[in-house]
Symmetry: D2
């Protein structure tokens, strides 16, 4: 199910209303719901690595590995992994193992949100093979949403959350896609297209409200430089705010934006002896507000898509988290 | 005129619904509307200096002086001045002159937004005496809003903007006040309590939409450390986003939060020979989300107060910018 | 072997000339040199968690997990792990497992440098049990240096490097200790107390010069707030610079400082229902330059201690990296 | 007088050993020594504006205006002004006035150090006409150093300081120039090429040691992107450290780097309707360490050039600050 374009949308929807509308971007999920597991891995694979990237922290009660290198080099050099909080390490090392022949060393980007209400988070259910599987399955086209991949056991604004994605096309013709792993927010502050949701009859999860996080990844085919990507990353947080998020104390609200509009960027490896100077393309800042609008709107839509695609789930210990019924919108 | 508490308000309104509800905080305005001037100076004076502070940049097409020292020391050491873009220097040096006997050197905090549509911005109408006047007039209690002080010639979301302020009290009993100099946003994206505003019959200003900025200052009586103030500052941007701001390319969206809950903080002056160790108070982070909510809600309310208190203005060259009629809400 | 106090030392040496001179700080190593392994794990355990902390990036070609939470909360909430680049994940997850009963979720701090010249870095020789062993072995008192723990296979300024530590006492009586995992630098730029080292007769490693990193951890018993810790962290880089480091392109020069002078800091956990306000202590900034000097000098000394304690090593594939003979100083 | 290339220099000296060795970069001074004035203005004018730029804060007890816009846009959009602490405002507004016809609004970059020991710093001796004069006088070729321009009344490492500059050429053929306004440091920590200076017979200034600042500006003709410029800016601090600076509490150690290797960068002005995408050049990171070395070495040389070109000065109230006699090296 897909939300209609919001009233304040900057432009028509793209083909799949997904981050995969940015040409060449692929998404893969491994979903683990056997036994006590309610978790998984999602990977986002840019069409070419490295690509320019930037990130932003709205609230830092979370982990996003690899950010020191993004800040320094402006480069995303690995696929992005998303999983639960206590499996960040295994996913990181598995991405290293999957790519280790390509470079001397690797600094993977792995984000997380905490699924300990529904998932046996200390059970170490995520293994290296699950990362390999997600990488192998990564594909363009429609993206499964809701209780899938890293989003399997997530809770969002007091309803069942998970993976959501959406995209927008700007007046200049650039595509912006956002994918979120949505595990954040309080029901009382949720706003959909500006309106609160009436759901007093639907039990709240037995968990502290707001004790979650949201990871947001934006992709665009616009030719952005690293500092421009960083600007887009911060706007993901504005979309979170419009839906009712506050960057709560217990939330890890970490956002990354990458741009596919430049190819052939030298990696900085000494042994590659790259040409000293490369030509790169840069979007004129006069047109960047269009991209900001697209990021904000696609983030709002991605959060709603996470809510609307998620299904009620019974956790490893019997806890039930209810989905948001679409008729409440 | 004052907005009723928004539906999503965290708590009851404070006494004046103003930043001055934080005990001891004073605000002073000098308003200049003679001849070609449509500008002025607003000062915000904490009850004691230094106090802990932090700041955040949502979009940097603006100036906020003194931030290197805030980042380094966590201290606000001067009153805050707000004026037009091309008068930042004179206001800064005038604050130095007004305080220069108190310290060897001073690094004042002065912010700005651009009023060049209505004001003869290159006419240097702001002079040192106007800063002195604003400092002298600074008072607690109700705060004049709209076309006053630094906000005199501002435009917000396609309507006449200016100075706005609001406050909230948290469940723990802390007061949070926000004051904005609102000169940002596009009418098409404006949302008031989540709803767009119908105003097709009211002409848009003859100026590029979004070509403005918003400076936001939050004060609280909670005993926050500097890094906690910085967290509050970022939430001002979430309030801007909920009202429809996007941190547009041409906008300088710079936010500062200061906390009055600690007094007697040593200044770092060598010649004062302060005791080596001081006791300070720190709010437990477990209660900080309340403050985040209060900042977001007070920012939304402050922007609306700016809009609702501003009056239609004719600029130095005859350009008219219309106020938002209250009946459109 | 221990370097004499540098001519520009701020004060006398502490007892062990080690980070463990800061009361209660413990260090543990697991050293792996069997078969193809030339690697290991080092842990640094503060006397109490959480404690205030801050970090700095001189060059970001490296990983230091947990930094988003340090920036946000100002808190170090776990022991610090140091290992090789491709074992960061396993060490991170093992720290989670070792501590997982204590909090709902954990965001461990793990740093790395790349030992792929001497160690079979993709052989996954570091396992969870090695982290447990290092945590179990962590102790105060003298610290083993050179080819130990995370520093086992490291190369520094063209000589065998590894773990080094040193400490200083400030005129105010505060102790500052620094521990480095030194794997950075070029021989041509090495300076010891300002002088280059003559070693043309000692073969350089068969590896690109400068293709390493340095992780530096500073501890102090001064009661610093988080933003003051961050200032100390940046000064570790000044010590690196004085010894000849340049934050080279291929180097991950990431630094963290923590302060033990405050205890009982609330964790921010909602279910702990901490008192709303805590008293904390703050060193007056008027005395912080002493700490800066101590950090710079202890960093220089720690790098030299790493060089002087390391021994010539033959790598997993026969590559030999020579130690710096003490008579060259 | 010019220092010989340091032993650790990366390459031969450029033509003037000055920031003006970067083609098209101009420097202008206005020096004020009449009456009670011991101050002035220095301007650094890039060959074309905007150009890519980045900045770094080693210690923030100082002001560098315009940095929010540099962080956001990656652009330097005005000439850089350097003056005394209490004249930042007048210099900023004077740069606005000098350029105001060229853009709707301007966010000038102005730095400062505090000359209150020798100069009547609250006497407001710097006026707008002095800024105009410095801009008019700005020229390529040899640069006057020592007691000139913004550096007129400065004190460095316990000796007379001021303006200093130096340059280096990298193996790839790029030129790096650094200009400092040197007013920082303690004599006891000063190191020249690694060695302390014996000067017990030369009285120390009657001012607290370290109560100063250093502003450092690096220029290069390498085609750097903004994030690469920021990396260079941080390395200025490493040169400061090697000479004995510690980023002392009372010091404002703020650094900016700009790159002239890209021209025709769109400004972001909406009314210019620039092409949506521009081609820019980027130096491969594999070669950036050469530039880091050049920045570090040129900064060391620039500080020494400031010391060696400065002359003993008697201040407005009779205080004498002695120059460093060249025979002490």
């Amino acid at each position: 199910m897909t939300l209609p374009a919001a009233a304040n949308s900057v432009a028509v929807l793209s083909r799949f209303d997904a981050i995969t509308d940015v040409a060449g971007v692929r998404v893969g999920h491994t979903t683990l719901t056997e036994g006590r597991a309610r978790t998984g891995v999602t990977v986002i694979v840019p069409p070419e690595l490295p690509c320019f990237a930037g990130w932003h922290r709205l609230n830092g009660n979370g982990e996003l590995t690899g950010t020191a290198w993004i800040d320094e080099s402006g480069l995303l050099t690995t696929p992005i992994g998303l999983t639960n909080t206590h499996s960040v390490g295994i996913v990181r090392d598995a991405i290293v193992a999957a790519l280790a022949t390509s470079r001397a060393w690797l600094l993977p980007v792995v984000g997380e949100t905490w699924d300990g209400v529904l998932n046996d988070v200390n059970g170490r259910h995520v293994r290296a093979e699950h990362v390999d599987e997600a990488l192998r399955n990564a594909a363009g086209g429609p993206v499964a949403q809701g209780n899938v991949g890293g989003g399997t056991g997530m809770i969002c604004h007091g309803f069942k959350g998970g993976i959501g994605t959406a995209s927008r096309v700007t007046p200049q013709g650039h595509t912006v896609g956002v994918l979120v792993q949505a595990n954040h927010g309080r029901r009382s502050r949720l706003r959909i297209d500006g309106k609160p949701v009436q759901a007093d009859d639907i039990p709240l999860p037995e968990a502290p409200e707001g004790a979650g996080s949201i990871i947001g990844i934006a992709a665009t085919d616009a030719p952005l430089l690293p500092h421009q990507c960083r600007r887009l990353a911060q706007r993901i947080g504005l979309g979170v705010a419009r839906t009712g998020g506050a960057g709560e104390q217990t939330s890890g609200d970490l956002f990354l934006a990458f741009a596919t509009g430049n190819t052939g960027i030298p990696t900085g490896e000494l042994d590659e002896q790259p040409p000293a100077v490369s030509a790169v393309s840069m979007l004129a800042d006069a047109y960047i507000t269009e991209l900001f609008d697209a990021v904000i709107d696609a983030t709002e839509a991605a959060i709603l898509n996470a809510l609307l695609n998620a299904e009620t789930m019974t956790g490893y210990d019997g806890t039930v988290v209810h989905a948001l019924p679409p008729d409440r919108l």
